[in-house]
Symmetry: C2
Subunit: 213 residues, 2 copies
């Protein structure tokens, strides 16, 4: 499969910049259903993503059942209660409530795992850095995230979870390790500024680069 | 900072799909210099990337000096010799030579680390999954990669390296962990099919999703 390489012009780059600027970690969703066609097109982000040795170690589980979703919610509440003990102001609990809202509201839930035992790719590029497989999954989630945003959909990445417990609750194979629990749906509002920044939790910094001469 | 949310139409989505399809892990570079403006614009991919708790744990070191580049090359050669012992055909060594070519030819080298000790974000979202910080760096590299491709530039991600040795050789702080060693430049050729697939190493699969009801 070849073809003529596409040329990306300044207008496209400007739109790509806008896409990245308006990609948010979404915590409030409208209850509207997600169009299966749009979701399917965005899932191409996985198929087109880079992976170490072409190992494509991502494993996606769509979590639909009430019992499974309740288990995720309990998992989050337990992990969150533990986490909150470490903070002495109320900002963390405000933030946690937002995340919980995302879990309750998002119509589509995807648990994305890394299969560290995959034979695909024959281990190429992962000997000294086996974590490259999980990084590949994070890269693929990023592509999916951007593609979702281009469809007008939003994603919230939940990590306040006990990953081993989640894997057990969803009965996935023993070699699968949670990379992200993703809430997907139509964002209730759209903002170019991260919610954590608007809440005063943390601000964006400039990207600095050092140099070794 | 607010504004009107942009609308991304089918034409943009089609171009975004092309961008992802033509993003490659590049191993052959032309010697042409990289325009600093284009590199700087692509680095916005880091500034706009998602990160757990807005921790922005990416640390970018541009590797310019001959001694530093020689240390990286020696590191690669050692790690690669170890890795090749595990394969009984010659495809791995062919692949390894390609990667080495990338290291020799790419005009820009960036070592990207994760700072696991950053106070930024106050640990939010990283208590049960501390690996979320490194995943955030992988997400940011993905945004950078796509932005580079939109500038006509290519990236090759080298992971056949001893990450601890690299950190020592580049004298980075003890808490910084290598996520990716990135070769950046003008690709010598452009292909929508991964080189590993063209070489017969591994093929792309369809993305499958299972479901928990």
């Amino acid at each position: 499969m070849t073809g003529t390489p596409p040329v990306f012009d300044a207008a496209f780059r400007s739109q790509l910049h806008d896409l990245m600027r308006w990609r948010r970690d979404v915590r409030h969703f409208r209850p509207d259903r997600v169009d299966p066609g749009a979701l399917s097109r965005a899932l191409d982000g996985f198929r087109l993503a880079p992976s170490v040795g072409l190992s494509e170690p991502w494993r996606i589980v769509r979590v639909e059942g009430d019992a499974a979703r309740a288990a995720v919610r309990t998992n989050f509440e337990t992990a969150n209660a533990d986490a909150l003990r470490g903070y002495d102001d109320d900002r963390a609990s405000r933030y946690a409530r937002l995340k919980l809202a995302g879990l309750a509201e998002a119509p589509v839930h995807l648990a994305v795992f890394c299969d560290d035992a995959t034979p695909k790719g024959a281990g190429l590029g992962a000997r000294t850095m086996p974590e490259m497989r999980a990084y590949s999954v994070a890269c693929a989630i990023t592509c999916f995230w951007l593609a979702l945003r281009a469809e007008g959909l939003g994603l919230g990445w939940v990590s306040i979870l006990d990953p081993d417990r989640l894997a057990r609750d969803l009965s996935v194979p023993a070699d699968w390790r949670l990379v992200g629990y993703l809430c997907v749906g139509h964002p209730a509002d759209e903002e170019p500024t991260p919610e954590l920044e608007r809440l005063g939790w943390e601000a964006r910094a400039e990207t600095l680069m050092s140099e070794v001469r």
